[in-house]
């Protein structure tokens, strides 16, 4: 692919993932030279409706999000979900735990009907996503790597191993050794063990690995004297959508 046209879009999210692209610092100039950015919600005023690659941040949380997503998907040849909200539904899914109607009432009171909120879902619940740059926020290196791989016609290398690997490469003291708990053994790596490196347990913001050993994780947390609620909280923060989906199965 030679100089692809790229659109950067934001659905329901904080905008931080798009900012990560602007935060590329040393690589920003090279990045915008390598691709032709035709739309960038957080960064440019121009807008074009012709693009090959769509980088989409945020989850689908309103009917309007869904309409926009469907439109983007009808134009783009390749869709890359960037960030936790887009990839797993992220924090926004916590709303689903209350029940969307109840959450609307809680926040908007008698004006709740003005809001077209629907149950939050990751974008791949509606459209085919080719690649995920997961995480909250996603790593800049991974976003660049995916785009770069596409230009070169390569398959991007996205880790499907647990965070523990990165901890061990860094020589970290395991969070469990210090009395904390960590989702690392079932969480997808790629962040270079950002949280455990700061002695804070991993919250699985990149979602689980493809085939997580959930029972072993339950046993592990259990051994550290945690209740089922604690266990669920570990998954909730970024993966409530997945959990509700599993429950309904």
């Amino acid at each position: 692919m030679s100089k692809p046209k790229v659109g950067v879009f934001g659905l329901a999210g904080c905008g931080g993932c798009q900012l990560e692209i602007l935060n590329l610092e040393d690589e920003l100039i090279d990045f915008i030279c390598a691709v032709d950015i035709v739309h960038f919600t957080e960064a440019i005023t121009e807008h074009s409706d012709t693009y090959d690659i769509a980088l989409i941040e945020g989850s689908v949380s309103t009917k309007h999000d869904l309409e926009r997503l469907e439109h983007i998907a009808s134009v783009a040849k390749i869709i890359i979900a960037i960030g936790a909200c887009s990839s797993t539904g992220g924090l926004n899914c916590l709303k689903n735990l209350y029940g969307t109607e109840k959450a609307k009432e809680l926040v908007y009171g008698d004006k709740k009907d003005w809001i077209d909120a629907i149950d939050t879902k990751p974008i791949d619940a509606y459209v085919k996503v080719d690649y995920h740059a997961r995480g909250c926020p996603p790593t800049r290196a991974e976003i660049v790597d995916i785009v770069k791989s596409l230009i070169m016609g390569k398959v991007p290398e996205i880790p499907d191993y647990p965070v523990c690997i990165e901890c061990k490469r860094l020589g970290n003291i395991c969070v469990y050794e210090t009395g904390g708990t960590c989702m690392g053994p079932v969480a997808r790596a790629g962040c270079n063990a950002r949280c455990p490196s700061a002695n804070s347990g991993c919250e699985a913001c990149r979602g689980p690995v493809d085939d997580p050993n959930i029972n072993a994780q339950k046993d592990l947390l259990d051994r550290y004297g945690l209740t089922v609620e604690d266990i669920m909280e570990g998954f909730n923060l970024y993966n409530a959508c997945k959990k509700i989906e599993q429950k309904n199965k």
């Binding site: 191993y161 647990p162 061990k168 020589g171 003291i173 690392g184 085939d211 050993n213």
Partner: protein, 343 residues
């Protein structure tokens, strides 16, 4: 081999002299229960009373977890430059099992193919070993690695108010004469050393019997139920591999610059326990589940190199046991194999 004596009152000076001449890497306390090896600037930073260390020191110095191997430019002018960083270093206070682990890596990285990046660093590394305290999971004496015959320049054994020192190389002899007050060993010292060695062997709590393992393993190799049971809790997290002093697998990745004008090839520690390790082009995975991967790991540790090098590639350091959050335990599983055969 030459034998010498170093009085404990001269020990601190010896270490400080080494520090002024070399970049010395030695054990440091990093938490209540853990130590790890880091470069030190003074004698006081060092703590030789370690039991558990997070990573095997020689592996992390000679085969770093992330290492650039080559840089290149593409286009009309293709240029490849090998990247190989090495410097004179001294590893101090390393236990026998870890020296034996390093000896294994030396063989791996110089047999069939000379790995320049490893070997350059190895050539510039001086090693001073010590009879370290085995951790609770250490079973080195069961695999014959509680004693180092080679791979060190000096090796220190505590015989009371002095160290009995084995000098393993010419460089070791030079270090001894240049940096310390080493005396000749007397008959009394030799017998004290023999006694110490007998006592030392008894410090290993875990004893595991590997007799017939070589044959027994084949008998149970196809027993799916057994391996599924043993690997049931495995997270496929690779910790066991990465903390192992003899695991040498690595993955090479390409970081091409975004302007596509060039890039860097680097290697990272890899693991045969993660699900993608056996994934090949076309999407087939020849070790698709935990059970398959665990028995492959045991084969590699306890059989493959018996055939290839005439030795186990497990030195019994116990780090994989300590690192595994699923409590998967190599010596218990050696026993499980034995039990399975005897049923």
């Amino acid at each position: 081999m030459l034998y010498k004596i170093l009085d404990k009152k001269d020990f601190k000076d010896f270490v400080n002299n080494l520090i002024s001449a070399y970049e010395v890497t030695a054990p440091k306390k990093i938490s209540q229960a853990l130590h790890d090896f880091f470069p030190i600037k003074s004698y006081e930073e060092m703590d030789l009373s370690y039991k558990r260390t997070t990573l095997p020191p020689a592996k992390k110095m000679l085969f770093p977890s992330n290492e650039a191997l080559a840089s290149y430019t593409v286009g009309n002018n293709i240029e490849v430059k090998s990247l190989n960083e090495s410097k004179e270093q001294l590893l101090f206070g390393v236990g026998a099992w870890d020296i034996n682990g390093m000896n294994f890596l030396d063989r791996i990285f110089s047999t069939d193919f000379i790995d320049e990046n490893y070997m350059e660093k190895r050539k510039k590394l001086k090693v001073i070993g010590i009879d370290a305290e085995p951790s609770d999971a250490n079973f080195a004496s069961s695999v014959g690695s509680e004693f180092a015959k080679e791979g060190f320049d000096l090796f220190l054994s505590d015989i009371g108010d002095k160290y009995f020192v084995r000098i393993g190389t010419a460089a070791g002899a030079e270090i001894a004469s240049k940096f310390g007050d080493f005396l000749d060993a007397s008959d009394v010292d030799y017998s004290a050393y023999d006694r110490q060695m007998d006592l030392y062997k008894n410090k290993f709590n875990v004893n595991v019997n590997l007799d017939n393992f070589f044959e027994n393993f084949e008998i149970v190799y196809g027993k799916k139920d057994l391996w599924e049971k043993l690997a049931k809790s495995c997270f496929s997290c690779g910790s066991c591999n990465l903390v192992c002093p003899t695991c040498f697998c690595f993955n090479v990745r390409d970081d091409i610059k975004i302007d596509l004008a060039g890039g860097i090839k680097s290697r990272q520690w890899d693991s045969c326990m993660i699900s993608n390790y056996g994934l090949v082009a076309g999407g087939h995975n020849f070790r698709p589940d935990e059970a398959n991967r665990l028995k492959q790991r045991y084969r590699c540790k306890l059989k493959t190199f018996v055939e290839k090098f005439g030795q186990y590639s497990c030195v019994g350091c116990g780090r994989c046991v300590e690192a595994c959050l699923a409590k998967i335990n190599i010596y218990e599983d050696i026993n499980a194999v034995k039990e399975e055969v005897s049923i």
